[in-house]
Symmetry: D2
Subunit: 297 residues, 4 copies
């Protein structure tokens, strides 16, 4: 944490509108960026201090950190929106928020958009998986909702948005059913007027190129089944690549090692951030200046 | 994270009542323990998996992680209680909760006790500092509320408690005003009927011994101004020693290094927990068993 | 509001355990009671002051008052649990809580039970309708989930309960599919071990008697399609009868008339409760006594 | 509830920015308006349907309805902001929000402004009383914070605001200390740059005129100690007059009468709103149209 955070972060952060424009610029550009996977105010602020401009609140990570539960749609919309708001007030990342299935049907999706827009999201992902799962693991098929139902959700999402600069992303897991199925979904999603498409489960660069060829919209990819270089995604026309959730996994490893060391009476000095870095991270100086400025002497 | 968590953690955790009895047993014992400093469901679960039985939600750490703000009483009681509840539902640590000044006057302290008891706290600390600060930094004196006011808060706290097994701790920062002042406060606190006393700002073993000699109640110490061995505290009669907040500081260091590595395109494999460990931490197996047990096949 | 509320309501309310026992006694008795439909702390307190011991937080009313939206599963579990908690802390009604479909699949139902038990519910209703609706209004059929799925939800609910005195009620809308269908569901619900059954859509006393004959469990009825005397339900063996939501409808009428009068500059004295009654309702005396008792003089 | 609510309320409400401009127009005008006292989504919607454009969330009413407790600063900022947000999402009233003492010192006041601005408040009142009270009732004096401290709070509030169209109101209870004291406070408040002043405890029209003469800012008055005609306030130059909280008091009276009637088995038909009016109030038609539009057929 040696890098100096922008000194005016608290007193003059980017407005939510400016953050949405920044994300829109990425989508309109020619690069392929990977957002920082963040999950609470401090992780978001560290990511911003490290140079990230775009953040991602993934559904899995939200469930892990809020409920200590796996990614099986146990978290409520209220919990997600509260956590997104905590993040957007503490850092000026442009936040992409994974809203799973929109927390129900198309009307729940409207409410999802409303609450996440209010919480300061810059982009909201709505996906076509049938959540929470209806059947025990092992049963094949039935994981996707019908295209008809999904198109209704996306149209509802767009109708519920009040700031047209917030990005609505239609996300599909249909590649598991073949390229033709995915192409049909991508085209139908685009026809609703959404701003971007996300395709998960990519297993080859050919699939990426097929998806890019199918739509004129910016493409997000994630949950890759093969390892491809980010550069290849840029060349292929992908704008946003989800690269996993190393930050939380690193924090967990450090926490574990620290608890074990403390338990064993071993030193922890090498494991921890310096007090000054922590103080800087929570903007102690800015708060002290406000105390000097606004409290009686 | 190689240690096996107790396999029945979710399906049969300790009840809140049992956790309170466990903490009471520590206070009635002859050891001096240090609670694990935790701040969210996963940190609490890791601490429990590492062998800790007692956890601490410190006011500073709560403010850092919820608001990304320093420890200056900006957090609301609602935010603190919600976070404590998230922790107590995800692990079976016996949680000590730092409730600062009780979030206002004696009646706010009653509400503080009510909300934290409901959230599953096993012990609640109420301190005699005047929060939030009235004056700009640098002005000396005036940091403590009157003994009269503090005694009222502690009596109110005890009246508001509905489960008598929950521990109410009177915490004093009065050592800064000398041993005589601290002794007077400790005696007055004990006379209210609180279950334990915490003294901060210890600068010598003599002070510890003076405090122990002043009261028959279990003693907590923290915010030490000198380095003393935990063993010395046990010998002196201290039951709970706060040893700082290395876990969050370690997580922040790991997050920073990971964001920098990702930003620079460097590998992160050495920094992160194994996927299996993360899956175990969020109890993926238990949830899958529930899916097999309760969802249609 | 002329009736004197119990003077010790705040300082010594019934514990949640005692409230659950009180509801269990009703279910084990020979009367048929109707709970008070309540929706916030003050309505609950008024109902208790008027002599009600059992309260009902209906799904429709929760949606109306929290979201100003119709009863179409837009409310989150977090919002419902928070509202139930606000009610249980302010009055000592034994609360029956309508939890719709358990907010998702069987695992969401587990979380529903966990959160509502923590909020102080005495009984939780889980119903077999497919919510939120999948299709536009007008399409017939498909409103019920399969019996298999519903049985899984009820078994999951029972597994998630930690206080066995909390009542889990299996609720079915299957009478719309005929008596035979309803009988099959009631028997299957009973076999899971739930504590009571609720049947909605009753259109004759014969149907009531058929349901009572089908199960040895206490029966709840509601959403009646015919008008029957409460006495007839008692004789038939029903223990709990939902009689609609007049209280909120009365409050809305009074609010409307008051806003219109204020808008027109007309007097409102005849419409409003006396200030003393309002002061008594918010327990001004008890709080003043606490101020005298616990604040410095 | 016979008046037709605006049919497009949900699909096209006023934006928060437009509501703030509407309130600003009132403050810049020559009328004296009284806001509708509202406390939840339905009361706000009824007030709007009855023709009110400006609403008031009073501190007392917020405490009554959320906690069933008197107006003694027991409610948290989180609870207030959540309730304001529920109101602003369900109606398009321009909301004036009473934020008491700013929930602590000047830095807490900054957070108060931040949270209430985010919740959609159009005006926030910050007052110069010392809350929560430090001493038991009956002790005279000490109810006001120093002018120095209050000026710091108002300057902090203005610094924390990100939308300059949101109105910050400095409220003073200093008339109890005489006109000269009040004049000094009003002038000092104006010098901070706040947008309006509120004076409570008016006991004569002379006092009103003295206050108007003291400042060029729009004046709010409330908590009157004498009965004066609204017209007189307009002539005197007052822009906003708080006239009490009849709506909640009317709802409580109606609830009480209804619970008593239900308890006694008496009819309630004359007490309650018609089902169609309730359905219209929760916008059943709009939601049904969305179901037709966005759900599969």
């Amino acid at each position: 944490m040696s890098r100096n955070p922008s000194s005016n972060l608290l007193s003059n952060p980017l407005s939510i509108g400016e953050r949405r424009q920044r994300l829109r610029a990425v989508l309109a550009g020619t690069e392929c960026i990977s957002p920082a996977s963040v999950y609470d105010p401090l992780s978001a602020r560290l990511a911003a201090d490290a140079g990230f401009e775009i953040g991602l609140m993934a559904g899995s990570i939200a469930s892990f950190t809020t409920l200590a539960a796996p990614d099986i749609a146990l978290m409520t919309l209220t919990e997600l929106a509260d956590q997104v708001r905590r993040i957007t007030r503490a850092s000026d990342l442009s936040m992409i928020v994974d809203a799973d299935h929109g927390f129900g049907n198309a009307l729940n999706t409207m409410r999802t958009i409303e609450e996440l827009e209010h919480a300061g999201a810059c982009a909201v992902l709505i996906e076509d998986t049938d959540l929470p799962v209806r059947h025990a693991p092992g049963r094949s098929g039935g994981e996707l909702i019908s295209l008809d139902e999904m198109v209704g959700k996306l149209r509802a999402a767009l109708a519920a948005r009040t700031d047209p600069s917030m990005v609505v992303v239609g996300r599909t897991a249909s590649l598991a059913e073949g390229i033709a199925a995915a192409e049909a979904r991508v085209k139908a999603f685009e026809a609703t007027g959404v701003d971007a498409i996300m395709v998960t489960g990519i297993s080859s660069i050919d699939e990426v190129e097929a998806m890019v060829a199918t739509t004129s919209l910016p493409l997000f990819v994630g949950h890759l089944l093969v390892k491809l270089a980010p550069k290849d995604f840029a060349v292929a026309g992908v704008r946003v690549l989800f690269q996993g959730h190393q930050p939380l996994a690193a924090a967990l490893k450090a926490l574990w090692e620290t608890y074990v060391a403390l338990r064993n009476g071993e030193p922890t000095a090498a494991l921890v951030a310096a007090p000054d870095d922590v103080a800087r991270l929570v903007r102690s100086d800015a708060h002290r200046e406000w105390q000097q400025e606004f409290l009686p002497h």
